[in-house]
Each structure stands twice: as structure tokens, then as C-alpha cells.
Symmetry: C2
Subunit: 481 residues, 2 copies
């Protein structure tokens, strides 16, 4: 066993040892634990922001906002589990005199799945990292977490892991409820995803790394669910009416959305599509001018910069592409739909502040672009009511390819709430049935169990007839509370 | 392209072509379609039972019961989608004056995932075959289905596929909403699971075939969810108090459960575990006597008989096993826990009317057996209230390993209802978060989509503010109706 393997083995065994008791903690106790983590993160004060700023080059104001998002997220999951309806309780009472055979008493509820592995992302050093949404939702469901830290912000990670550790101790839980492992080598990641006691995993990052880990998870003797969110091209379609009415505002909004945070968001708009004509011409000119003047900034870490430069260079080599690149990072490519449809590279994400403007000859050509589009976290439409009525087919095509459809807005900015869907068909994620943002993210880490004719003291409270927590349940086929 | 590949390609393309319009049919229309299928199956009359009986050797009465289960299942999914709450609608209204940034209007709902591949099982030629639970749930969610028929009952399959075809025509749907493909070769199955336009799949059958298809699904350029239900050992623990009080009745019940339908149920109890002593001795004697006299019967098809014989032979070769085999199929093995723990073969399913009785030296040894147990569809406990209180640790261990825990009953007999869970950790299934029986089976074939600031006429009715269907929804974090 290598050192990396031994470290992982130790962490996963501790998680497994902690599972039985942590899984059975009352929801209220787990909720207080999540709130305690939030408080401990706040207690880290400005020092956390300073360290994160030094490690990631992200501005302090952005990091402070991200910290608030992180602690809000923890508190959101605390509320969710305190309320309890997420466990999808269902009761079908016995029918002893049913013919030809009696029906037994059946009660079904979600229970925690087991130790969860989480791979931290680089681009949200707080909200998608050590105590981010994956950790929060896995812990909320009742699962211990083994977190693989991102090598781009090790000290930030240690600080947040320390905050979680303090919360574990003050809650009286076993230490194995949360462990963090540092290590940049693929060996560490593979040891974690292959550990026989790991029961599920979540990842946010590149397609290459996400796919490699998904493959390892699927090829285990006992495969485990591996949810990888791997980013996407996030196309934006600008329909003719909107183009005529708001061309300038849309160009400004798009440039701001692409360049926000040096383009380092998984929902950064990578394709902009419109129908050629005099207004499109002005729209394109304005976008080129905006990109030529865009400020850019330092990217998160050298590896991301390198991938970005390579992605830009690859696009530059394609025939039929015009490019505007500012003195800093930002790059705007422009091409015709006919050219785009010949190059699959156009539909691959380049992580960073670049976008490709696609000039279509017709609405039919826009549909063709939509049809070619790979799975994406988001798809955006700018259109008047009339535009949208006239482009129903385009809307329907986008619904098949994206997790979230945005009307007259911009894809960056992902709300953390019950109605959010941050996911989408492959390669946006490895399983379009789940989300990594919002309350539904907890569903990745729970599995149903059915109790047949069980004595009351074996059942979780949510399945008692008197329903002391007042959760919503399906009782004999009817939703009740 | 081989003939098998061309056949599959034709079917999946037809499913893909039908998807856009079928996915958008109002729920009421799809519900009527499912009911029409049920009616068309009933219209096949006795001829269906006669053909199925000839092909499978299952008795006519059993097949008539299975037909009722199949049509009830179709009608259950019709009710489910007519009611509409399964789509998990969620609305978070806009907060335009929120600081630092306004919240957009977000509305999330489940939509159909796309063309679904279904592999029919041999052991339920109606309820888990052409128009079985997988097909019913996939169609209910709004997905076209390409069904791979089981080669053990081709004529039965043709008759049911004909019934579905008539329902498609009378409903005015596109033919591609359902296609059936016959073919026993692995090539046909692989062509289906690898088809780029297939979006999800479900399978019921052996571990070997299920795992091979799961691997192919995971290794695609674009992996798809593949739910395989592959059976399990379904252990039954008999605790001391129950042993003293009801030893005879439990032995009789277990023998009946193992031998029901020549043991050809995925929930057939394969392991029986108790603590040694004078009562256990009598329990064991009675079981041996029951198995020695058990009638057996013709198995479904030669391949299943061959696997059964091989499984029995493999167990016979192990050291420390005592065996009673009736003149017909049934076989009861008996061994000590210490021996069982040395042989992993003991924890592998032998599909058919065989079981292994495990004699434990203590409660701790019973726990050790539970700990060693692989994932299972079910686990059963026979115990008095006191027994169950005294064996909380055993119950907790079983909850981690099974999809359904049965108290003082028998695992065969799987209710079709909201609270059923027919699934479990690997190798019972490839994904413990889903079920293939009951209303929740539909969740395998739907994915969430979020609409941000969408005009009302783009939204499904379930997401309109006025909620014309009256579905249950989470609105601004609160469950409403």
C-alpha cells in the first residue's frame, strides 16, 4: 500500500466506522451540526478571506459573497432536514382481508447511502470546496464525508476542514464523520474512488478528470454512483425581435457574463447564436469592441491558465474563425453556422473568458446548432414573447439538452434554492437525474428502504402513524401531512 | 452494420423520432394510453395464458394472477401521472428587490429522459416482460421504449407487443413509441445498450448479463443510467424467541417460500440463519424433511435449469456442507457459520428452489453473517418484540445491506404500491437509489429541468401559478397543493 493509499484507507475506514451512529442521529442534531459548521466558518473571520484571496487570486468581495453562500447553504440543508419531508416517506397500511392474499404493512423512507467521497472544485474555493454543497448535502443526509481537497487552495481547505473538525467535536460526533485528504496525484483520487467502503461520490471539475473517476467508480467490483459536474458550453440564442429591441443591452450583458470572475464559472456562456443581418452586424461589432477592451485577470492556478491557452489556440487553428483577443485573457471568436457545424471543437468547453459568436443564415440553422449541441448545464434564450412563440421548436430542442433554460437573462449566477437544477445531460454531468446545487442535491446521497410489518420501535419517526414531525407523506396513495 | 445492429438502429431511431411529440402529450392522454394497453392485454383472453403456459411451464392460475398484476400496474401508473405530483414541481418566485442581487423566477419539474431500453425477464413473462413494470413506468414518464424480448417466451412477447401496438394506433401516437426486438445473441443486447440515441435502460435478470450491460452503458462515449435488478440471496434470520414460539410454522413458511414457483423469484429466500440449540435442531430436521418431500417442477427454460444444476454442484463441492435434495429440484444445504464465513460462494445467489441453513454458535456470529452479506433485495427477521429489541445491531446491519426488511413474514410476494422498494445495494441492483417495482419506479426515467424567468406558455401546467392540475408542489420552500 502506498502512502496515498494508506491515507485514503485510514480516512474511509474512519468514515465507515462513524457511519452507523452518524446515520442514526436525529435530524435535529444533524441540523445543529451543520449550523455549527457555518458558525465555525464565520468564526474564521477575515483570515479565511485573506488566505483564499492569496491562493486563488479571487477578489476579497467575491470571496466574502461566496462565504455567505457557503454558510447559507449549510443552513438551508439544516432547515431541510429539520422539516423532514425530503425523506419521501410512504405508508401503505396492511389490508388483512384482501383477496387473493392479504396486503402487508409497507413503509418506505430514504436513508443515508454510506460514506461519500467528495472532490473539491478549484473555482469556488468555499462554496464548491471543503464545506461546499456536496459536503453539506452528504452530511445532511446522514453520511460521513471523505473530502479530496483541491491542490489550488490547500491552506483555505485546511482552515475550513479545521472548522468542520471543531463542529464535530462540539457536537460529540465521531471524528470519522469528516476527513480531508490533500494530494494532487491521480493516485490519491483513484485510491479514494476505488475504496471498497466508499458508497457514493461527487465531483466538480474538468471533463477529463471527471470521466476518469466516473470510469473508475463504474468499473469497481461493486460500482457506486458517481455524480460528476463537468461544465458545459452554455449556449445563448438571441432571437430576432430581442436583437432589434435590445441588441446593445444583450451584448453588454453577455460580455459581462463571460468575463465575470475571469470566465471561471461552469455556467459561463461559451456560444452566442443569432441570425445574420444588419442588426446582427452591429451586435457583433459591439461584442468585438467589448472583448477587445475587457480587463481579464489572473486565473485560479497555472493549470487552468494552460488549459485555457491551449483551448484558445485550438480554436484559432480552425479554418473560418475570426478572433478578437484583448491584451489580457478574454477572447471572442466568430464564425458562420455552416463552419461551426463542421467542427466539433466548437461545441467543447474552453474554461475561461472566451466565447464563440455563431452567425446563422436562418432560424433553421439555429435549430441545427441546437440539435448539434452536447448536453449543457444551461441554455439561454433572448426573445420577445412573439420570438418565443415563433421558436417553439428551438425551445423544445434546448429542453432536451440542458438542465436549466434561462429566458432573457444570463447563465452565470446559480441560485441556491429548492427549484434550482444545476445538472444536465452528459457531458454537463454523468447523470442528468441529479443536481449539485439546491435542496434536491441531497437526493444523490440517499436510498430508499422499505419496512414490511415492522414493529414501531424499529421505524424512523417519520414512519410512525401519528407523524410526530409532521412531514408530508404518501399514505395509502394519498399525499398527506 | 449487422442485421442485429440494423434492427436495433431502426427501433431506436423510431423511438427518438417519436420522443419529442410523445414527451409532450398531456398526462391524461398518456394515462388513457396505458389503460388502453391494459384493456388490449385483457382482450387477448385465454389465448395469452395458454401460449405463456406452453412457453414457460408456469401454471395457468399463476399466469392469470400475473396478468392481473400487469394490467393493475399499467393502471396504477395511469393514476399516478393523472394525479401529477410525481413530477416534483418546485417554484421559487422572483425577488426583484433582493440585495445584493435580485432573485429570478425559478421553476423546476421532472421531464422524460428520452428513449429507454428495456430487457425483459424470463421469470415473469408478463409482469416483468414486454408490458411489465419497466415498460409501464418508462411510458408513463413520457419516454418511448425499445424492448428486448426474452428468448424464453417469444410468442407471449409477440402477443403483448401486438396489444401495445394496437393501443398506440388507437391513441394516434407515432409507431416508434414502442418497438420490440427479438434476438438471443449478446450482439443484439450490446447494440441496444450502445446505441447513441438511447438515454436510459432497465434490466431484470442474472448478475452476469446485467453487469455486462451495465459496463457497456457506463463505457459509452455518453454514459447512460442503466438500472439492473440482478437478484440476491435474501437472508432470513430466525431469532431465539420466535424459534421457540413458532419453529414449525416458520419452517413450513420458509419451505413454501423457497419452493414457490420452483424457486424462480428474485426474492426467493436463499439463506436461513439461526442460533444452534435443541430447538434449532428440530427446526433443521423439519426443514430437511420438508425439502426431501418438496415437489419441485419444470423450470422456465433449459438455461435456467443448467445454471441451477451448476450452482447446486458448486455448493456440494464445498467442505462442511450437508445436503438434502428431493427427487425433484429442491435442495437444502446446511452448514455452520464458521464454515459459511470461509466460503464466499455461500453468499452468491443460486436461482431456483435451493437454500442454505446456517447454524450459528451465538448472536455475535449471526451479526458476522449479516456483516458479510452482500447487497440484497430483502432481508427477513423472525422475532418476538423482545427478540427484536435484543437484536437492534443485527437490524441496523441488515438495513445497510437490503432494500426491504421483512418482519415475521416471507420475502416472496412483492406488492406493487407507493411504499414498495424493490432494489438494494449491489449486486441486488446497479443503483440502490432506485426501485423497479411500485410507483417510485418512474423516477428512473425522468430528469429535472429548471425554467428561469420563463414566459407562462413555455411552462408545463404543473408550473403555472394557478396550479390547474392541483399537484403538490414546493412553492417558495413550502409544500403546497
Amino acid at each position: 500500500m502506498t502512502v496515498a493509499e494508506a491515507t485514503i484507507d485510514h480516512a474511509v475506514r474512519a468514515a465507515d466506522a462513524a457511519f452507523a451512529s452518524y446515520a442514526r442521529t436525529p435530524a435535529g442534531e444533524r441540523a445543529r451540526f451543520l449550523e455549527t459548521i457555518a458558525g465555525e466558518i464565520e468564526n474564521l473571520g477575515d483570515a479565511l478571506i485573506e488566505v483564499a484571496n492569496r491562493e486563488t487570486a479571487l477578489p476579497a468581495a467575491r470571496l466574502a459573497g461566496e462565504r455567505a453562500r457557503t454558510t447559507n447553504q449549510l443552513r438551508m440543508f439544516a432547515s431541510l432536514i429539520r422539516e423532514g419531508s425530503w425523506r419521501d416517506a410512504r405508508i401503505d397500511h396492511a389490508i388483512p382481508d384482501r383477496k387473493p392474499a392479504p396486503r402487508p404493512d409497507l413503509r418506505r423512507i430514504l436513508i443515508p447511502i454510506g460514506p461519500v467521497g467528495v472532490w473539491a472544485a478549484s473555482n469556488f474555493p468555499l462554496a464548491f470546496s471543503v464545506a461546499g454543497g456536496d459536503t453539506a448535502s452528504a452530511l445532511a443526509a446522514g453520511n460521513p464525508v471523505v473530502l479530496k481537497a483541491h491542490p489550488a487552495h490547500p491552506e483555505t481547505s485546511e482552515m475550513v476542514a479545521g472548522a468542520i473538525g471543531r463542529a464535530i467535536r462540539s457536537s460529540g460526533f465521531e471524528a470519522g464523520v469528516f476527513s480531508m485528504v490533500q494530494g494532487a496525484s491521480p493516485e490519491t483520487s483513484l485510491a479514494l474512488v476505488r475504496h471498497p467502503l466508499l458508497k457514493a461520490a461527487a465531483f466538480t471539475g474538468s471533463l477529463r478528470a471527471g470521466r476518469a473517476l466516473f470510469d473508475a467508480a463504474s468499473q469497481r467490483d461493486q460500482p457506486i454512483p458517481f455524480f460528476a459536474e463537468m461544465g458545459s458550453v452554455n449556449p445563448v440564442f438571441v432571437l430576432p425581435g430581442a436583437m432589434r429591441e435590445r441588441m446593445q443591452a444583450i451584448a453588454d450583458g453577455l460580455s459581462a457574463s463571460v468575463n465575470l470572475g475571469v470566465g471561471q464559472f461552469c455556467t459561463c456562456p461559451g456560444l452566442m447564436i443569432g441570425v445574420d443581418g444588419e442588426v446582427f452586424e452591429r451586435f457583433a461589432s459591439r461584442l468585438h469592441a467589448l472583448f477587445a477592451a475587457a480587463a481579464g485577470g489572473t486565473m485560479l492556478y497555472p493549470g487552468i491558465q494552460k488549459s485555457y491557452d491551449e483551448g484558445i489556440e485550438k480554436l484559432r487553428q480552425l479554418g473560418g474563425m475570426q478572433v478578437t483577443r484583448s491584451a489580457a485573457q478574454p477572447a471572442l471568436f466568430e464564425t458562420r453556422a455552416a463552419t461551426a457545424l463542421r467542427h466539433e471543437e466548437i461545441f467543447e468547453e474552453v474554461f475561461g473568458p472566451s466565447a464563440i459568436l455563431i452567425r446563422c443564415a436562418s432560424a433553421a440553422e439555429m435549430e441545427e446548432i441546437a440539435r448539434r449541441m452536447p448536453g449543457s448545464l444551461t441554455a439561454t434564450l433572448h426573445g420577445t414573447s412573439e420570438d418565443i412563440l415563433n421558436h417553439r421548436k428551438l425551445v423544445a430542442l434546448l429542453e432536451q439538452r440542458a438542465g436549466r433554460i434561462i429566458f432573457n437573462g444570463y447563465p452565470t449566477g446559480v441560485e441556491v434554492c429548492a427549484a434550482m437544477q444545476h445538472g444536465g445531460p452528459y457531458p454537463a454531468t454523468t447523470d442528468s437525474r441529479f443536481t449539485s446545487v439546491g435542496t434536491a442535491a441531497i437526493q444523490r446521497f440517499a436510498r430508499p428502504i422499505c419496512f414490511q410489518d415492522a414493529p414501531r420501535d424499529v421505524l424512523p419517526e417519520e414512519l410512525w402513524d401519528e407523524n410526530p414531525m409532521g412531514v408530508s407523506r404518501i399514505v395509502d396513495g394519498v399525499l398527506t401531512r
